[in-house]
Amino acid sequence: MKFGVVVFPGSNCDKDMQDSLLHDLQKEVIMLWHKDKDLSMFTTDDCIVLPGGFSFGDYLRCGAIAKFSPMMQSVIEFANKGGKVLGVCNGFQILCESGLLPGVLLQNANQQFICKNVFIKSDESDALQIPIAHGEGRFFANDATLDEMESNNQILFRYCNKNGVVAPEFNPNGATRNIAGICNKNRNIFGMMPHPERATASALQNIDGKKIFQILGLN
């Protein structure tokens, strides 16, 4: 399984994602420029990653301009064919803007950018310590959409405390139902606000991010 990491102007977690995949997960990584279109070197077993950052400055809604880039047209096509796509932070915002994932990401409830370690968990996992760094990470969708997502098991990660308890007081940004990460119905498109690539290097003394890639089947 190899990875392609898309670089938009304003991406700033692209190199971190590359480092993490290459050095900590020992994966092949190809960097992809937003003005290009060619994804012919990838099969649907591979994964395209939309990294974090401030694509095109995010002066409009986050991700709203990035979705029009040539590479994103190819990524949408690739995803619709069943290829794996992971969006982290700004990448998640782009996926929602592109309609590849349901819901939107609103400004954090406290109206501030928040960067800190938080805990998230999947249904099966223990609490994993993963950093967040965003100003607009409050996931929102209407109840009907949410109920449908729940029944399809599309909620991948929720904010919790270190013991794995999911409750409002452990929700850093006010996200609906403590949602930190989701996938589409076909389970090939993944989006999450926390940064697993920031938690894979042993020198930084937290490698919980590796477990995130494992849970996503991207290891």
């Binding site: 304003g10 480092d19 950018f113 928040i114 100003g135 930084l204």
Partner: protein, 736 residues
């Protein structure tokens, strides 16, 4: 328009300076030329009132690869062929008026100084000072400044890894916003800010030029008054997305080998970058100002020359390689315009539609050239009498250390600054090794070099106010101590000298003495000063701010395994104090904030004692004999003992005899050069013997517990309750 001294005076030039300009040109300057001199000879660009004293600092030797002040930032040898580039700069006056943009563009400006050299910025720090936090105006400034720093830095994508925030009434009108950036590069690939090669094209790249920031340099060179708000156009507006693209494009362009020289446009925009690059290369330039992209119509020549619009660079390119430049900037969708050529006559000639608007010898405009240099009168400040009159015996000693401790850890200067730093992306770059393992300095992996950096910014300005010479030394000593306690070897300093009006002899006295103290300490720690910035005129109607020479210091960890954390590591470890306890509460937070004593001497400090104590810490860390080290600073020993517990929620049992030392001094005094370490039981004997052999005093204080705290038999409860108070003190004030 006739140019007279009155015109010059309005541009903040003195009569003497106006005469000097006429003499240098051999004629009366026109308005555009006079504006150019006004900006270039402002304190901000020319250092006219400070340079003579700055030259007394140790400015060479050690690992320095470029002389101090010669380039946009300092460059030091990291070994393995790599260099570390760093600098600190102030953006105080813009932040006083428009905290969000003022702070944001301060961050943007310092990043450009780093990547202009060809380095990729990997870490940012900042040093902030505001008035009383309970004041609504302070809260407005704090929120704006923090939001601005976050807005720019988070988008630009360089982690903010450390800093300091202080609240003192003297900063009410004039807050201080000092931003530092650190980058790494291959040492032999430095791009100089020099123009060379007659006929080489000059490119203007980045954002279009508008009227924002016109006169910023001279605005920074005057006191803040009620009327200052009318200078609002002198505050620039930042665009971090543009800067991010500019960074990537510039670093990519460097790889093509097309660049002869490059300088960012900061203070005094086009005039400053053309003048400095030309003067340095002994050349001139012919510039067609009408080719500069503008964002406003009908801009005049002087406006184009002085605009401080952000995210712009001047690049001298090797003739024939113009297309390489255009291709790279096109790829990144950044504008690049060929605006002129390097000439051989040393003259800066600025044209608008082929009409000559200004002709000035580049040399006459710049520091080290024609710019004047003064040394101002200085007299010992009158308030020293009050400081000298302080008598510790007039303060009654305390009995209940627990209640004092509760107050102390909630003083905003001491309490957790998480409300601030959680708004900064501190982890982008995946190189911040302090997130999960805190140290006194911030530890950042220098990816690709095999090394790590230890970085810190420090200045306790209350100490400098009390005694500028000793306070200046302490600022350097504390920075070095923080790096040593983190396992690093201090290598160099960048400084941001924030003072009041230099024409006030008492302010100038503070400046002279502080610089002298810093110089002596830098020589002792072998940390030369690589550059920095002087910010005078930090005063409002109520007087000058505390003299604040902020020290940014960089250290190297050749071996990352020498990294030392500050926190208790394991229950049962022994807690040992290195350094002498002293009967001293001078200038402590305890005395100042809880006893409301504003005037007292600087805390006890001896440079040799400090150096020796740092040496023993460095040796213990290298021999892998200790598990934590944290220095004693604001709030004294008590705060250090608590802070060591917060990271892992571990407590402590301490049992000591205060002896002849007052209780307040023992627990809350801020005598310098003390460090609290923890040691595993099996190592204790070796450690104590090694300290004693070095002739250094050490005292066993107690042991680490699973969370409970006991001091001399008094039950202090659990560390988590203390952590809650420490963490939320600032938030509670802001949310009220």
């Amino acid at each position: 328009m006739e140019i007279t001294f009155e015109t010059a005076r309005q541009l903040r030039l003195t009569e003497e300076e106006f005469e000097l300009i006429k003499q240098k040109l051999g004629r009366t300057p026109n308005f555009t030329e006079l504006c150019s001199f006004s900006a270039m000879w402002s304190e901000h660009c020319s250092y006219k009132n400070s340079i003579k004293w700055l030259k007394t600092l140790p400015r060479e030797g050690g690992r320095m690869l470029v002389a101090a002040g010669e380039e946009n930032a300092g460059l030091m040898d990291m070994g393995n062929g790599f260099g570390v580039v760093f600098k600190i700069e102030s953006h105080n006056h813009p932040s006083a008026l428009e905290p969000f943009q003022g702070a944001a563009t301060g961050v943007g400006g310092i990043q450009r100084d780093i990547f202009t050299m060809g380095a990729r910025p990997i870490a940012s720090l900042n040093s902030l000072r505001f008035g009383n936090l309970n004041d609504k105006k302070t809260q407005h400034l704090l929120k704006g400044v923090v939001h601005g720093i976050g807005h720019y830095g988070n988008c630009f994508g360089v982690p903010t890894v450390g800093g300091e925030v202080y609240f003192e009434s003297c900063y009410h009108t004039n807050p201080l916003v000092n931003a530092m950036s650190v980058g790494i590069m291959q040492a032999n690939k430095m791009i100089s800010a020099t123009a060379e090669g007659i006929g080489n094209p000059v490119f203007f790249v980045g954002s279009a030029t508008g009227k924002d920031g016109i006169g910023g340099a001279s605005f920074a060179s005057a006191d803040i008054t009620k009327e200052s708000v009318q200078e609002l156009p002198a505050v620039q507006v930042g665009d971090p997305f543009q800067e991010k693209k500019l960074l990537e494009a510039c670093l990519e362009l460097i790889e093509t080998g097309a660049i002869v020289g490059m300088q960012d446009m900061g203070a005094a925009g086009i005039i400053c970058s053309t003048a400095e690059m030309s003067a340095k290369g002994g050349v001139g330039m012919r510039i067609d100002l009408d080719k500069v992209p503008t964002r406003q119509q009908d801009m005049k020549a002087w406006e184009l020359l002085l605009s401080e619009s952000q995210e712009r660079m001047l690049i001298v390119v090797e003739k024939g390689k113009e297309k390489l430049v255009l291709d790279v900037f096109d790829k990144w969708d950044v504008s690049a315009s060929h605006i002129g050529e390097v000439t051989g006559d040393g003259l800066l000639q600025f044209y608008m539609h082929d009409v000559l608007e200004a002709a000035i010898p580049a040399y006459e405009l710049v520091l080290g050239g024609g710019a004047p240099q003064y040394t101002r009168e200085n007299t010992e400040p009158k308030y020293f009498e009050k400081i000298n009159a302080f008598d510790i015996n007039t303060i009654e000693d305390i009995t209940d250390i627990k209640s004092i401790a509760e107050q102390i850890i909630q003083i905003p200067n001491i309490a957790s600054k998480r409300w601030v730093y959680n708004q900064y992306d501190s982890m982008v770059g995946t190189a911040n090794a302090s997130t999960n393992a805190p140290s006194d300095a911030s530890i950042v992996l220098a990816k690709g070099t095999g090394k790590a950096l230890a970085i810190t910014v420090d200045c306790n300005s209350k100490y400098v106010f009390a005694n500028p010479y000793i306070g200046g030394m302490i600022a350097v000593a504390e920075a070095a101590r923080n790096i040593v306690c983190s396992g690093g070897e201090p290598i160099g300093v960048t400084n941001c000298l924030n003072f009041g009006n230099p024409y006030d002899p008492e302010v100038y006295y503070q400046f002279v003495k502080a610089v002298t103290g810093m110089g002596d300490a830098c020589r002792k720690f072998q940390t030369p000063v690589t550059g920095g910035n002087v910010s005078f005129y930090n005063q409002g109607p109520e007087g000058a701010v505390y003299p604040t020479p902020t020290i940014g210091m960089v250290g190297i960890l050749d071996d990352f395994s020498n990294r030392m954390t500050l926190n208790y590591n394991q229950e049962g470890d022994f807690i040992v104090l290195i350094g002498k306890q002293k009967n001293d509460i001078s200038s402590s937070e305890y005395l100042h904030k809880l006893q409301q004593v504003e005037y007292s001497p600087a805390p006890a400090f001896d440079l040799d004692e400090e150096y020796n104590n740092q040496q023993i810490i460095a040796a213990l860390i290298k021999s892998k004999l200790i598990v934590s080290a944290h220095d004693i600073s604001e709030g004294g020993l008590m705060v250090t003992l608590f802070e060591k517990g917060f990271h892992k929620n571990l407590g402590f049992t301490v049992s000591v005899n205060e002896g002849l030392i007052r209780k307040d001094a023992f627990w809350f005094g801020e005598a310098q050069s003390r460090i609290v370490i923890t040691v595993q039981k099996s190592m204790l004997e070796t450690v104590m013997a090694q300290i004693q052999n070095a002739g250094i005093s050490a005292e066993m204080l107690g042991t680490v517990t699973s969370g409970e705290i006991h001091i001399n038999g008094i039950d202090f409860g659990n560390i988590s309750a203390w952590k809650e108070k420490y963490d939320t003190a600032i938030e509670n004030i802001l949310n009220n």
